[in-house]
């Protein structure tokens, strides 16, 4: 197996809470090392309490074993820090198609009608990474992938 083979396999592994989003587009695949038929994958921790992380680990191990890796080691790293700025352009489009507005620091647009006439109902939604919004234009509730970026200390 080459690194490219591994990346191709990983691009089919999705986040179980957002099944349209491959982990490669989520931006959590930090490093891949191949030695003989052993593969080591370093993933970045997203939300500390996210229950999907254990499932992603198992999915990566299963997919690589199926592709011929004899030994797979998946490590979650806290450094460098993942941020939602790592979500790829393809990932942002996939989120919209799934009814989730992609993370943004600016105005939040409705993933259904595109209107920016929206307001936040709650920071906390069905998963740790999603907030609940409402579109005043098409009257649909929708979710936003919660933007997380590094927070400098209080001055």
């Amino acid at each position: 197996m080459t690194k490219d083979d591994v990346m191709r396999v990983l691009s089919k592994v999705t986040d179980p809470e957002i099944p349209v989003l491959p982990i490669t587009d989520l931006g959590i695949v930090e490093e891949v090392r191949v030695e003989g038929d052993g593969v080591e994958v370093d993933l970045l921790l997203t939300f500390a309490g996210c229950p999907a992380l254990g499932i992603i680990r198992k999915s990566v191990e299963g997919a690589l074993a199926e592709a011929g890796a004899a030994e797979v080691k998946v490590t979650f790293r806290t450094s460098p820090a993942w941020s939602t700025e790592r979500v790829s352009e393809a990932g942002r489009e996939a989120l919209k198609g799934f009814g989730i507005a992609p993370p943004t620091a600016g105005a939040v647009s409705c993933p259904y009608c595109g209107s920016a006439d929206t307001h936040r109902e709650s920071s906390f939604g069905p998963t740790l990474c999603r907030s609940v919004y409402y579109c005043e234009h098409c009257h649909n509730p929708f979710e936003l992938m919660k933007p997380v970026v590094l927070q400098p200390r209080v001055p």
């Binding site: 500390a48 309490g49 450094s79 709650s122 920071s123 906390f124 939604g125 740790l128 927070q151 200390r153």
Partner: protein, 252 residues
């Protein structure tokens, strides 16, 4: 090779505050004033317990017991959380006031930990801060709602704040292991050094919401950092440890 005991104590105490308040948050699930708050407090609980796991796992990697053992098999007097976070939720006013105070403290603490000489600890602090921002914002929104709501809601948040500040000093209790950790650069600031910025930050919030600033009693809520807890922790730990204690060898 095991790290110095003060390193393990520090990391365990950092995890304990998060774990115990996370347990209290989880108790609101299905009982909060509205369904959005069931979801919010369940999410906050999940975040806090995730943070606790990061601190516990770092302690484990440096020679401490595993994260599961730390959370589920220690006796209450081995916990190093501040008494404030173990108190029962009481009413919504106290819940919001206590969490607002805790998140304000946590913001100062994690900001300071960004400079820790223990780099994995600084990395954890950076991760934790990204999520805590939402907690702090949420509690501020609720404090404002209660302050400008009805006479009753205003009275309840005011009473909740007074009860909180009567015991908040426990968060800043500074023991020998804190001083050892500071001498080695693990802890950039002692807890007691965060007290003044905390009082200032809480005062600013209360002024903004037109509330009186209740006094912070310097001797209130001490003891948690050396394992002296209230009965509230004993009953809470009996709940969260019940399943684990049935069969500590079970795998999930």
């Amino acid at each position: 090779m095991s790290a110095h005991p003060f390193v393990l104590t520090l990391l365990t105490a950092l995890g304990d505050d998060e774990f115990v308040i996370g347990h209290r948050d989880s108790e609101w699930c299905a009982f909060a004033p509205m369904i959005e708050e069931d979801v919010a407090f369940a999410s906050i609980a999940q975040d806090e317990m995730g943070h606790a796991r990061l601190y516990y796992e770092l302690a484990a990697s440096l020679g401490g017991p595993s994260a599961d053992e730390l959370a589920f098999s220690r006796a209450p007097d081995a916990f190093r959380n501040a008494v404030l976070v173990e108190r029962q939720n009481a009413d919504w006013g106290y819940t919001v006031a206590r969490h607002l105070a805790y998140d304000t403290y946590d913001d100062l603490l994690t900001g300071s930990l960004l400079d820790s000489s223990l780099h994995p600890l600084a990395d954890i602090a950076a991760l934790v801060r990204r999520e805590e921002r939402y907690h702090l914002e949420h509690q501020r929104i609720w404090a404002r709602e209660l302050a400008f709501g009805t006479d009753e809601s205003r009275a309840r948040i005011q009473v909740g704040l007074a009860r909180t500040l009567a015991e908040a000093a426990g968060l800043f209790e500074t023991l020998e292991w804190h001083r050892e950790a500071k001498a080695e650069g693990l802890l950039p600031q002692l807890p007691e050094e965060l007290l003044d910025p905390f009082v200032k930050a809480m005062g600013e919030i209360m002024t903004l919401f037109g509330m009186m600033t209740p006094p912070l009693s310097p001797e209130g809520g001490l003891g948690g950092r050396s394992g002296h807890h209230s009965e509230d922790l004993v009953t809470a730990a009996a709940t969260w440890q019940e399943v684990y204690r049935l069969d500590p060898e079970a795998t999930w």
